[in-house]
């Protein structure tokens, strides 16, 4: 009955953990699995760093007065929270950890196409990270993660250049990862693994990689221009020097809107895998789900102006951007409906990853639908730059991507480590996170419509009740996020052995040992059927 009671487990064989224990073997590894683990450790570190800042922000907002920290410190806190969470957690999260770990396994390959480049991308990420940590400890940067000019280029007195450099440098790690994934997906598929037999996780990573490669250079150039203007008074963005401040916003959002999809598409890939596995069904409308990822990647590049409806950009431009924004909502809707339909006539079990997947669908639906409020011209005038948008993107980024990340880690943890964690604790943690999340961010929608602007250190008293609610939620959420760190680590000591396929899932990664051998497959697998071909015979569980 219980899907976790599995085949008798042999003694651990040679795997990517135990074949060499030296530090050097980790720091010079070209094994995609080890690099995935290195990324997992580093992004977890940044996640907790960004989390600490979030806690301080929420504590400050407990009272209307600015009593916990000074205005300047507060501004640095929300800036660093944004920079760390966006560039050092969300962007690399699923692609760099699970993409790295799983793509070769899912494709039946020994490694990514360019293993050395892959290692280099981790080092570049770490160098960028060190710059960012330097900024944190030197006193921070206070421009907001959006670095709007001319504030950032002329007026701010904080460590703008160091922070910009950190982001600039990590950008290259994204580009390298993207290039590597694209080459791998094109060239390293096992015999018989045609495009339409690929797991949807691979499709979503393909779309993500395209955005990484095409978009990141633009933000890199933009950041360089800001730094040059600060250093040499160049006159690109500052009107005092003859520049155009809105040019920055165009360039910045040209990347940063598509980047939002770098932060959600991989999560959608994860959800497809989990839903298919725990309802024992092929994903309903597989091709629609696959192509919707590509549609999102393409359309995502054409909607940046929806961040600029109140700037005075031309009415015509606003109309076009608004229209395209409504169109880009459709592929996301298609995914949500197809996931839901996948449950139909399935055989559903509610293991922890599935709980996260179901939670994702609900929260992402709210996140997506509230995006319509912001894309809608007449309404955006009011809610733009208020807590409404803060709530909206946290529903997508935390309710979406972080839930997907947690789903992924609970789904593939047995594959990565060979151990099962406590399902009981994991389910409790999932419930706590779900409640805490909604309590933190739902009140912010209301606050936003009431008119509370974002990035406010002090605020009028009538907003206090909702802020207290939000802070209370945040403490529950914070506690919830700590739990997995404990029971997952504990599972390494006391967890049951997982065996190759603890969930009876389909997919090449489940055909190899857990943890996998350093070279993944003993013989090159040959694929004869599509992903998720769960038939009646696969169903006999336990």
């Amino acid at each position: 009955m219980n899907p976790l009671t599995v085949t008798a487990v042999p003694k651990p064989k040679r795997n990517f953990w135990n074949h060499d224990f030296s530090v050097k073997s980790w720091l010079l590894t070209e094994d995609h699995k080890r690099i995935g683990i290195l990324y997992l450790l580093s992004i977890t570190l940044f996640f907790f760093l960004g989390g600490v800042m979030a806690v301080l922000i929420r504590l400050e907002l407990l009272t209307p007065a600015g009593d916990l920290v000074q205005a300047e410190t507060y501004n640095k806190l929300f800036t660093m929270h944004g920079v760390v969470m966006v560039f050092f957690f969300l962007l690399p999260s699923i692609p760099a950890v699970f993409g790295n770990f799983l793509l070769p396994l899912m494709l039946g390959a020994r490694d990514l196409a360019f293993p050395k480049l892959n290692l280099l991308s981790w080092y570049i990420y770490m160098v960028g990270g060190v710059f960012t940590l330097f900024v944190v400890f030197k006193g921070g940067v206070d421009t907001g993660w959006t670095f709007y000019t001319p504030y950032s280029s002329t007026y701010a007195n904080s460590h703008v250049i160091a922070a910009a450099l950190g982001i600039f440098i990590t950008g290259f790690s994204s580009i390298l990862t993207g290039v590597n994934f694209i080459a791998t997906i094109h060239k390293m598929r096992a015999p018989g693994l045609t495009w339409f037999r690929l797991p949807l996780f691979v499709w979503s990573h393909y779309a993500t990689s395209l955005i990484m490669v095409l978009g990141t250079p633009v933000v890199a150039i933009t950041i360089v221009l800001v730094a040059l203007e600060r250093l040499f008074r160049l006159g690109v963005f500052d009107p005092e020097l003859g520049g155009d401040p809105l040019l920055f916003q165009h360039l910045f959002w040209f990347y940063s809107h598509p980047a939002v999809y770098i932060m959600i598409l991989p999560g959608m890939g994860v959800i497809s895998e989990i839903i298919a596995c725990f309802s024992r069904k092929r994903i309903f409308g597989y091709r629609f789900v696959a192509f919707s990822s590509m549609a999102i990647a393409a359309l995502g590049f054409l909607v940046w102006g929806h961040h600029m409806f109140t700037t005075g950009q031309s009415v015509f431009a606003s109309l076009v951007f608004s229209l395209l924004t409504f169109l880009v909502a459709i592929p996301s809707a298609i995914k949500v409906f197809n996931w839901t339909a996948t449950l139909y006539k399935g055989s559903i079990s509610f293991s922890t990853p599935m709980l996260y997947a179901l939670g994702f669908i609900g929260l992402f639906a709210i996140g997506g639908l509230t995006g319509l409020f912001l894309g809608c011209l007449g309404l955006d005038i009011h809610v733009h730059d208020t807590y409404f948008i803060v709530a909206h993107f946290h529903y997508v980024m935390v309710g979406g991507m972080v839930m997907a990340f947690l789903g992924a880690i609970h789904f593939w943890w047995p594959k990565m480590t060979g151990f099962m964690y406590s399902e009981f604790l994991a389910k409790i943690a999932a419930a706590i996170i779900f409640v805490g999340f909604n309590m933190t961010f739902f009140p912010q929608f209301v606050l936003g419509y009431l008119g509370m602007p974002r990035r406010y250190h002090v605020y009028p008293e009538e907003f206090q009740v909702l802020n207290v609610l939000s802070t209370a939620g945040a403490s529950i959420l914070g506690f919830g996020f700590l739990l997995p760190a404990f029971y997952l680590i504990y599972s390494l000591k006391a967890g049951r052995r997982a065996g190759p396929d603890p969930w009876q899932a389909k997919g090449l990664e489940w055909t190899v040992d857990s943890p996998p051998h350093p070279h993944n497959f003993e013989t090159v697998p040959v694929v004869t059927e599509g992903a998720y071909e769960y038939g009646p015979e696969e169903v006999k569980r336990g």
Partner: protein, 315 residues
């Protein structure tokens, strides 16, 4: 009722009511879809849970369903787009008459001036029912003029004159916020808009020290800054006659053309060498650093009164 609970903002303009209708519609749409999705997830997960449905039946997809669930949301999305666009476009047109207020954002305060010269900081008194026409600019970084009760927000961008308007339909005192992050004291760059009966507004105005009107200040600056030495008709006139320049089309050295709008005049004062009028030498000195945005606005107000092509130029 929602207002009393503190979960819905007061509405004090007609535009605000219209935004609220759209908002309620969108909430309806959101509730509808979230309910459908959550209900479907709940029903299917219970109905097809492993215990009740031990063997899955393969179902691969249905083109008809795909078309339905992309088509219906598409229609709804386009409808919302159209509604929002209509509201936005209608609100773009400036009403023909009203009270012209000039707004200057500055780290970290709002400076406002009434047409008859009264100045205010972080507060704006206006009469109810009369269109308020704003000309806004910033002395430093980008700010955003936001009055939640009017559902009105517009960015205030350095180097740009933004025209925008609102009409209050309720008296009272309402929050004025800066909505665009602008540095350390962004969150205290707030003030209030006080909406009064027109008679009270008149009384309030006459109780304020009027000082110079923008036009008077501009005229004085025109002499103080010695603009008149080059621009007043006379034997040693080096620059063009400025009467009728505002709003007209200018031919430039090098063959280009420009409409003499607010940005053009501002650039002529701060960076005269950028666009040189055809038939003249680039002799005009830059006034960058010598005039602030309020003074530029006054000069502009004065130039507008010099007659000629500009609409409504003569007071």
């Amino acid at each position: 009722m929602l207002e009393k609970l503190g979960i819905f903002p007061e509405a004090a303009s007609e535009f605000a009511d219209q935004v609220d209708y759209l908002y309620f519609f969108l909430i309806g749409v959101t509730i509808f879809f979230v309910t459908v999705i959550v209900a479907a997830l709940a029903y299917l997960s219970v109905r097809y849970r492993h215990r009740r449905s031990p063997v899955p039946t393969p179902v691969h997809g249905s083109i008809l369903l795909e078309l339905t669930w992309s088509g219906i949301p598409l229609v709804i999305a386009l409808f919302i787009f159209g509604w929002g666009a209509k509201l936005y476009i209608e609100h773009q047109d400036m009403p023909p008459d009203g009270i012209e207020i000039s707004v200057t954002g500055k780290q970290w305060m709002w400076k406002l001036q009434h047409p008859s010269g009264q100045r205010e900081i972080n507060a704006l008194h206006v009469p109810v029912g009369v269109p308020i026409l704003l000309t806004m600019t910033s002395e430093d970084v980008i700010h955003s003029f936001y009055v939640p009760a009017f559902r009105f927000k517009r960015d205030v961008v350095p180097g740009v004159y933004t025209r925008a308007h609102f009409t209050a339909d309720k008296t009272g005192s309402f929050h004025l916020f800066c909505a665009e992050y602008c540095g350390t004291d962004h969150s205290v760059m707030i003030g209030k808009v006080v909406v009064m009966e027109p008679s009270e507004y008149e009384a309030w105005l006459s109780g304020q020290p009027a000082g110079e009107t923008p036009v008077q200040a501009g005229e004085r600056l025109f002499t103080d800054l010695r603009c008149n030495t080059c621009h007043a008709a006379g034997s040693d006139q080096k620059g063009p006659d400025l009467a009728g320049v505002f709003g007209s089309k200018r031919l430039l050295v090098g063959g280009g053309e420009a409409i003499a709008d607010e940005e053009y005049i501002r650039e002529s004062i701060l960076r005269p060498a950028r666009k040189v009028v055809f038939g003249y030498e680039p002799l005009m000195p830059t006034y960058q650093g010598q005039v602030n945005e309020t003074q530029i606005l006054s000069l502009m107000a004065y130039l507008k009164t010099l007659g000629g092509a500009a609409e409504g130029a003569n007071p």
